[in-house]
Structures are given as structure tokens and as C-alpha cells.
Amino acid sequence: MRLESLYQEIILDHYRHPHHAGLREPFDAEVRHVNPVCGDEVTLRVTLKDSDAGPVVADVSYDALGCSISQASTSVLADLLIGRTVSEGMKVNDEFLALMQSQGEGEPDEDVLGDAVAFAGVSKYPARIKCALLAWMAWKDATAQAMVRQ
């Protein structure tokens, strides 16, 4: 069934039980991104802290309204990026973007993408790619703003 290949169990799990949900303080930057096609929206906060390896993502908190793909993607993002350095996070972000643009042909690296490999099937549905990318674009925007403030 194609539906099962799109809606992998990991995606449905994150959708039903999102990780790190809610907006928390303190935070260094907050952004609100919307998908003008469907009205899905996410408000996302990023908190950074210093480390020897450079700035680290201390927290990602969010309030997201949207479909299963966008909700699950936000939850997976928070799981993956909290605790990573910003530069590592940006690499994961690039990898996820490349996967979404792969038109179903991508071979995702599970070591880099973790649970996010479950979204590989989304890349076959052009109308849903924006759903999966909504939070990732928001995170990139918020992190860039937080870096400037630091």
C-alpha cells in the first residue's frame, strides 16, 4: 500500500505523541512560519548555549498546527537537533532538504537523519514536501537569528 509507505509508523507515532512540544523559556529567537498553501503554521523557539565546539542547540520548543506530516516532522526535528552543535544541525538540515528534493530517489543516511529517514516517501508527493519542510525552514531561520544575537 502506498499510504503505508508515505505514513510510516514512525511518522504516525510522532504525530500522535509529539516530542518536545510546547513553547518554553528562555529562548534566543522565535519565528512563526506558515505554509500559505494549506494554512499550516509553526511557532518555533531556539535556545543556544556556548561550548568548546561552538554554539550548541540547547532547546527547540514549538507550537505547531497542521497535518500529520508537518507535525511529525517538527517532533523529529526537535529530537534530532537538541544537543547538537549548530553546524551539525545545519548539516542535518541540508541532508533533510536534499532528501525532500529527491523525488523518491534519495537514499537517506540513517546515521545522519535518524527517524527523519521515515520521511523519504514524502518526497514522492510534491504537494506534501512543504509540509515536511515547514519546521526545518523555521528552525534554520530562528537559529540564524539566534546566532546574530549571540
Binding site: R2, C38, G39, D40, G66, C67, S68, I69, R128
Partner: protein, 422 residues
């Protein structure tokens, strides 16, 4: 002639194809764009194969034929909507362009320091409604920003009807124009245009009707509606994309400044200034959608042959059936009138626990094409207290069996996402 949906379906080649690994196509997205019958497709090909030339300026036989086809289409449109004369019919790209034409003409009148009904300034008001498509909201917001006029709007009741309780407060001597949809693209609600137009005219205001969702489905007569301007688009009524119509009363079109400048819309051009052609050509700058005009006329011919009263009656039965089928589904909320009274063939709904995007994905998997999102009516969705909805919209080629397939698909989505009574 009786309405025979099986025979009608045979006219639409696309309905024979399959989608998503061999599923028959159940096309329930006609409020977005309709499918095209063979007769319309043949007209487009015939124009390009036999009559193609530019219009009004080619001094050869093909130019004469192309011009006759284009102007003949204008006359067909005029007859179809009860215009007083073909010159009242301006061809546009779509309804959005038609509305922008009026809005920009008004700000051009304002910028030129003109007075009268088209010039706007602080203290003047434009009245719209909360159930408009973005194309009947944004041009007026921009116009108000350019001129200092104020935008006001009718609200929507939770039943999805226009809230006219404060009409006396909204339509006043300050109102310059009232713009509203004949039929909501989301709710299906058919608005009491005539009553509102009468109020607007009594206050000295003009009335623009967005008829994108009504003209394809019912007989529309511009005089009976009491409109001053009325816009609709070809692609939602079995016609081609790229062509729409703005109808306006002749005396208004005469008085209005142009919107787009360019070739064909002029009378005389000097380096210092120009004078303009009479309507409708004043508003048709540049090379127009030439082939699309006779193709639109073919769509009108097709709908006329089927018979709009018969089409409307058929759709009424179809919508009645679909509403009954949907009402039986636990957790399903219909946005807009739940009864088939003063409502058209678009049904938007939400289902508890299944986001509209996910709903449309499951339906698509079964070959059922619907639209998910805010349908270019974000303020309306906010007013109804929902973020997005799924819309199934029916047309003359849809069947009761397809409405049943929709209901079954919705139940399947509920099962897949583990919600509802199933």
C-alpha cells in the same frame, strides 16, 4: 432533453483515465477547475489548425476569421449573462484580473484628482464580506491603502450564511462600492445579491459580483442580480484557462479610466499623452487570449445545450445526496449550510482527528481528487474557527456513486488514522 449523466460523462475524455495505479478518477475538484468536454477541446484545436491569426490588426482572411471568432465569442457571452450589448463584456485573464481592473481603475481615477463615483479618498468606504475568495479581498485592501479609503465587511454566521444584521451600519452614504461573491467557493452558500445590491444602490454605491462559482452552475442574469460589475472565469465552466470575463454596465465602462495600457486599447498615441478606445477595447491591452475566446463560447454552447436549469436541478439532487451521506459520518463537520437550500455544489468539511491534508491524501490514494487547505479563503476559515478544510466540489459529470465513494473514502481515512466511528 432530459439530463443524462452517463451521456455527459462520455463527452469528457479525462474521466476515462485512471490515476494512482489504475484507480478510476473520481474528480471532485471542479470548484478549483472543471474538466473540459470534447466539443470544447475540438474548438481550441480547430482555431489553431484553421483560423489562427492576430485580431483587429491583421488585414488578411485569417485575421478576419480570427476577429470574427473573438468578437463572436463576446456576443455569445453577452447573450449568456443577459448583458445589454457585447460592448459590456471585457475579456480578462480571470476573475482576479477583472476585480483588479475595477480596483485599479478606481485608484487611477483617484490619482487623477477626478471626482465622482470612481474616485476614492479618506472617509470613503469599500464593503466586502468575510466569505470572499482572496481575489475579492486583497485588491480592495490594496486599493484602500493607495487611496486612504476604509475597508469594511459583512461577517458570516456559524451556519455559513452572510450576516446581514448590521447592513444599515455597513452600507451608508460613505460606501462607494460593495463587492461580494454570488456563491461562496468554500461554503457553497448562495448570497442574497439582489437585496444587497438594492441597498447599495439606494446608498449611491456600486456593486461588483464575483460570480466565479455561480455562472458555471446556474442561469445568471446581470440585470436581475442588480449588478454593476460581474466577473467569472472560463476554466471553471468547462472552458479554457487564461480567459475570464468582466461584465460592466456600458455607462460605467465609458467613464472609467483604463487599467492596463498598451496596444489595442488606444484611440491616438502621441509622445505627450494618449486617448483611449471606447469599451470594451479600452480595457483589452496587448494580444488577448484569442483562441480561448471561441473556446469559451463553445463551453457556453455546451452548457446551454445541456441546459443550465436542468444542470442545476441535477446538481441539487447530487448535493442533497452527498450532504446526507456526509452527515452520517461521526466527527464530520460541514462548513456552511448543512441543508441543500440556497447552496451550490461545493461542500467543505472537517473531520475530527484527520487533518484536511491527510484526508485528501487518503482520498487521492483511492482516485478521489478533492482540495485541502483554506481554498484561498483564509479569513473565512478563521471566522469558522478552523485552520483548514477538505472541499469536495461537484459538477454536471459527477454521480451519486461518486458521492458515496467520497463518504467511504472519508471512513477509510478515519480508520487509517484510528479515529471516529468508522
Amino acid at each position: 432533453m432530459t439530463f443524462d449523466v452517463a451521456r455527459i460523462r462520455k463527452d469528457f475524455p479525462i474521466l476515462e483515465r485512471t490515476v494512482r495505479d489504475g484507480q478510476p478518477l473520481t474528480y471532485l475538484d471542479s470548484a478549483n477547475t472543471s474538466q473540459k468536454p470534447r466539443q470544447v477541446l475540438d474548438t481550441l484545436a480547430d482555431f489553431y489548425e484553421r483560423h489562427n491569426a492576430n485580431i483587429h490588426r491583421a488585414t488578411h482572411q485569417l485575421g478576419e476569421e480570427a476577429t470574427a471568432a473573438y468578437e463572436g465569442a463576446r456576443a455569445t457571452v453577452a447573450g449568456f449573462i443577459g448583458a445589454a450589448e457585447p460592448a459590456e463584456v471585457v475579456f480578462t485573464k480571470n476573475v482576479s484580473e477583472g476585480i483588479n481592473l475595477v480596483a485599479y481603475s478606481m485608484s487611477n481615477a483617484s490619482a487623477a484628482g477626478q471626482h465622482g463615483r470612481f474616485a476614492l479618498g479618506p472617509g470613503d468606504e469599500i464593503v466586502i464580506t468575510e466569505m470572499e475568495h482572496h481575489s475579492n479581498i486583497v485588491p480592495w485592501q490594496l486599493l484602500c491603502q493607495r487611496t486612504g479609503a476604509t475597508l469594511r465587511w459583512f461577517g458570516v454566521t456559524q451556519e455559513g450564511r452572510l450576516d446581514v444584521s448590521n447592513v444599515d451600519d455597513l452600507i451608508t452614504g460613505r460606501t462607494k462600492l460593495v463587492a461580494l461573491a454570488h456563491q461562496s467557493n468554500v461554503l457553497g452558500t448562495i448570497n442574497p445579491v439582489r437585496a444587497i445590491a438594492d441597498r447599495a444602490h439606494a446608498a449611491g454605491a456600486l456593486v461588483l459580483v464575483d460570480a466565479a462559482q455561480s455562472v458555471p452552475h446556474m442561469p445568471v442574469d446581470v440585470a436581475a442580480l442588480g449588478a454593476d460589475f460581474l466577473g467569472f472565469t472560463g476554466h471553471k465552466m468547462c472552458g479554457p484557462t487564461g480567459i475570464g470575463v468582466l461584465w460592466g454596465r456600458r455607462e460605467l465602462l465609458e467613464e472609467m479610466p483604463p487599467f492596463l495600457g498598451g496596444g489595442e486599447m488606444i484611440e491616438d498615441v502621441r509622445m505627450e499623452r494618449s486617448t483611449f478606445a471606447p469599451p470594451p477595447h479600452k480595457f483589452e491591452a496587448g494580444t488577448m487570449p484569442i483562441a480561448e475566446a471561441p473556446t469559451l463560447a463553445a463551453a457556453i454552447g455546451y452548457l446551454t445545450e445541456v441546459g443550465l436549469p436542468a444542470l442545476r436541478e441535477y446538481e441539487h439532487g447530487l448535493v442533497t445526496h452527498a450532504l446526507e451521506a456526509l452527515r452520517e459520518i461521526d466527527g464530520l463537520r460541514i462548513l456552511g449550510p448543512a441543508e441543500p437550500v440556497d447552496r451550490g455544489a461545493a461542500i467543505s468539511f472537517t473531520v475530527e482527528g484527520v487533518h484536511p491534508h491527510d484526508m485528501s491524501q487518503v482520498l487521492d490514494e483511492r482516485g478521489i481528487a478533492v482540495r485541502a487547505g483554506h481554498h484561498c479563503a483564509w479569513p473565512l476559515h478563521r471566522a469558522m474557527g478552523v485552520q483548514a478544510s477538505t472541499r469536495a466540489s461537484f459538477y454536471l459529470y459527477n454521480t451519486h456513486e461518486e458521492a458515496d465513494a467520497l463518504a467511504e473514502g472519508i471512513r477509510e481515512a478515519q480508520r487509517f488514522f484510528g479515529v471516529g466511528g468508522g
